[in-house]
Symmetry: C2
């Protein structure tokens, strides 16, 4: 690639500026000129927000913002005709994994943020049907406005999208979040522009579309998650009846070496149903990064020393590990389960568990945003993590393999990741967010100062080394940063990368022109591979 | 088709006897002559057990019985070379849906029943990895033999296969059966003979293969369920830690008109987690068919009259509807939930709820087989249903659409199906088996005397009419009888059968020779369509 490419207008592979302009004009003619933009100020939003400024080559050439399913179909058909790769995003807030940037230089962003209607909320059956631009705030507000006796399981930061978070295997925390299984039924625009409904929705007027995940024959829903095989335009999302009691809980562990014992106790209590939601277990620095900045504690080079971590743990009252979790249900059951889990956890040295019960009238106004999140009340209050290094210009990349929820694996993963952070001179911000009673993501948040290009490069290089090193232990990422999706996908090497070959076969069949999100999850398709992608 | 075809040796479409013999010889050379059979006595097992004797044209030409994954791969590769359709079965006990018969005349049965090893049981993480020939008896016995503190959610009749039941979206009853979600990770022989592992198994040595259902990128597991896109050769299956208390429960309803009110109460109690398993709600005749024969009560023509049904309900102590269900967990929680559900259900006129708690030492020897099934103890004691009409030579076809779990839909479905049964002169054996808190299968068991060809034909024709009629209401089958899979698939007509077109595209891509189970779930592929299938 020539050295001066960044100063040139981005165009897609093998597409001239004139051809790109014809495509953009065709998009505008099909869905309206006001829905198509090439304004450089607008396009700035579609970059990795945390990379070294000016270093990116994966720049978008335009953005189209459909408002209807028919718009999306029209754009996809035209993109095929003009060979323009589209990069669909809904809210584009996935900052720790590369933000709203496309993989392929010159791609046109397909922004779904204006398709933001909550189409239906059914209180009797507990579900919503939402469009891809609906944020957690939007869904919460629609439930409130309808006066429904329902709550939605949400993420930590309310500006993200319900559909996009679900499609990316993202985390939420309430009981329905177990196994990331609260979606039911997709409507999908296929790369051909054809429209598919998955599960029971494959039948006209089937009332079980948002109720039963399957139909007759193979179920294709999960083919469209972390995927570039189609664009999801509607999704069913299950909502939980308000429980009688919600009890947010905190566990503190003061002796770092007892972390594995906590993991074993947690698995037992999740397997037997005592804890039926997704806890968030964070080490001192991970918790502290949500409350303070690194510079409040230490301004030396290299990782924050152990004695400072101890100091932070004590002064902020965190412990060396802290677990955020909760109970939901009838008061008698919550009381029983609380007594049981408190006894079990507190049998581990230096562990304390505490929390208070709350009725529905208190949930919206709980002072601690962590406690609001776990009962479905969204906010932006937990965004501060990114400011650990570099304040307002701090950034982070996240690396998040999945490991068995056992003491043995938690210890092995922590030993590896902590020593790799130390070797790289980086702070170790670790956390576990169990997916179910058996497996957990082991999140590594790698913070840096975006004003310091050397630190940014160190962090990204470090994350890549961790992906490869974890792969050797058999730990795969549950979600990959845009900058190392190919590397993360390469770790899935069973039978000479059978999964990758299978995905490429589907890609070439369903999207022969390689129009939809080429490179997503390491899946490129033949046309883009012939055009020289991936560029390593 | 010539009238005398049935007396000729079955051969696959466009394959001569000589070509078939060459293929069978190649199979024998590859995996051993003892694993290939064309013995007519052996092949008799691969027919719909309940159809009019001698009426079937969909006869198998041979059976191959691999014992290893490599055997399966070899057979699939040879089948491609020789253009021989294979019909995979594991236990072949799916009698109400057509048994072990193939769709295409002359297909070679790929019997997986000799791949019957429980490969692993992990007590700490609560899972088994099983081969496709493992029966419910085998799994139960392996858990017992290992002395594990685990129970498996099972079906009513223990001879069926764990893998095949799961792949067919089959029912089990314990908490993990909700959403048919207790499988985790497949190993699949693709139609090319290539080997794929889904979810985390796509990474070599990934310990979360049986723990976390996804990997990185799209998840293909459910593409291989009710499917002819591959042959599942290994499966992870989650096992539940033994609860402190198991409490089998019975609900009786004496006023038929209150059934919808019971459905609404059931949904409420499932949505709020009080009932966390899959109940079985059966009408009088459905329950009676498991205990007695029709001729014990009535020998008239046409449906059993209402007054006789009342008599059966009273004399057998069943009620007009009876629900089998259970609670599991800590004794304090079971007590709380029992009191709550009893109060709620008994607020409905003529409803009674009763049951008793049992500790683990009692489960294996509970006298009632229904109560053993719900705690994972398999038997053949519940096989008698098939004997309602015709005794030892009785048969049944099952029709089982999915409807929302609401009073309104339960009443609409019952009104339709009951009147259709009455019009056809058939008994109405109905039942509901909720899939989750929001949707339920509405099973119609259509019993007949296999010695009476007219009655058999009437029953099959009736079932087909019900499929089409239910489709008009937007109710699709969760599972289709072999004899009307095409019709059931045709009901899924959204956007000019987008789902069917999508499935055919995948089939043609992954299985261009149409080797694996052509016609399964109405998916044929171009080669078989060109050969004249489906034959309507």
């Amino acid at each position: 690639m020539p050295a001066n490419i960044e100063s040139r207008r981005p165009t897609p592979p093998n597409v001239t500026e004139a051809e790109l302009d014809r495509a953009l004009a065709a998009f505008a003619a099909a869905i309206g000129a006001d829905k198509v933009s090439t304004d450089p100020e607008v396009l700035k939003d579609f970059q990795d927000p945390y990379q070294v400024p000016g270093s990116a080559t994966n720049l978008a050439s335009g953005v189209v913002s459909p408002t209807t399913v028919e718009d999306v179909q029209a754009i996809v058909r035209l993109a095929n005709e003009h060979r323009i790769p589209l990069w669909p995003i809904s809210r584009g807030k996935n900052n720790g994994y590369g933000g709203a940037a496309p993989q392929v230089r010159g791609a046109v962003m397909l922004s779904l943020k204006d398709m933001n209607k909550v189409l239906e909320i059914d209180e009797e059956l507990g579900y919503a049907i939402v469009e891809p631009g609906v944020s957690w705030f939007d869904l919460h507000d629609a439930i409130e406005a309808g006066g429904h006796n329902l709550v939605a399981s949400i993420v930590d930061i309310g500006w993200g999208g319900v559909v996009s978070n679900t499609l990316e295997h993202g985390l939420t925390y309430m009981p329905y979040s177990i196994d990331q299984a609260s979606h039911c039924g997709f409507e999908v625009v296929l790369p051909s522009g054809d429209l598919l409904r998955t599960g029971s929705g494959a039948m006209d007027n089937n009332p079980t579309w948002p109720l039963y995940k399957r139909g007759l024959g193979p179920t294709s829903s999960e083919l469209f998650m972390q995927s570039n095989l189609g664009i999801v335009t509607k999704m069913g999302y299950w909502l939980m009846p308000k429980p009688e009691v919600y009890m947010p809980l905190w566990l503190q562990l003061w002796d770092d070496s007892q972390m594995p014992a906590v993991v074993d106790a947690l698995r037992e209590l999740m397997l037997d149903g005592t804890i039926d939601m997704r806890p968030q277990l964070s080490n001192t620095l991970c918790m502290a990064s949500m409350l303070t900045a690194r510079s409040d504690w230490y301004d030396g080079v290299g990782p924050v020393p152990e004695e400072i971590i101890d100091k932070i743990a004590k002064e902020l009252g965190l412990g060396r590990w802290m677990m955020r979790f909760a109970l939901y249900g009838d008061e008698a059951i919550v009381d029983h389960n609380f007594a049981k889990l408190k006894k079990r956890f507190e049998s581990i040295p230096t562990v304390g568990v505490f929390g208070e019960k709350h009725g529905a009238d208190e949930w919206e106004t709980l002072p601690n945003p962590h406690e609001r999140v776990q009962i479905g009340v969204p906010s932006l209050d937990l965004y501060k993590m990114a400011g650990w290094s570099g304040g307002d210009e701090g950034g982070h990349v996240d690396f998040s393999p999945v490991i068995p929820l056992t003491a043995k694996h938690a210890k092995a993963a922590q030993d590896l990741f902590k020593s790799m952070c130390t070797d790289a001179g980086l702070d170790y911000l670790g956390g576990m967010l169990p997916i179910n009673a058996r497996a957990t993501t082991f999140i590594n948040v790698i913070p840096f100062d975006t004003k310091n290009p050397e630190q940014v490069r160190t962090a990204y290089d470090h994350a890549k080394r961790m992906v490869a090193q974890a792969g050797k232990l058999g730990y795969g990422e549950y979600r990959a940063h845009l900058s190392f999706m190919d590397l993360a996908a390469d770790q899935f090497g069973f039978n000479d990368h059978a999964q990758g070959r299978f995905n490429e076969t589907l890609k070439d069949t369903l999207d022969p022109n390689g129009i939809i999100a080429p490179g997503k999850s390491g899946i490129w398709g033949s046309r883009m591979r012939q055009a020289g992608y991936p560029q390593r």
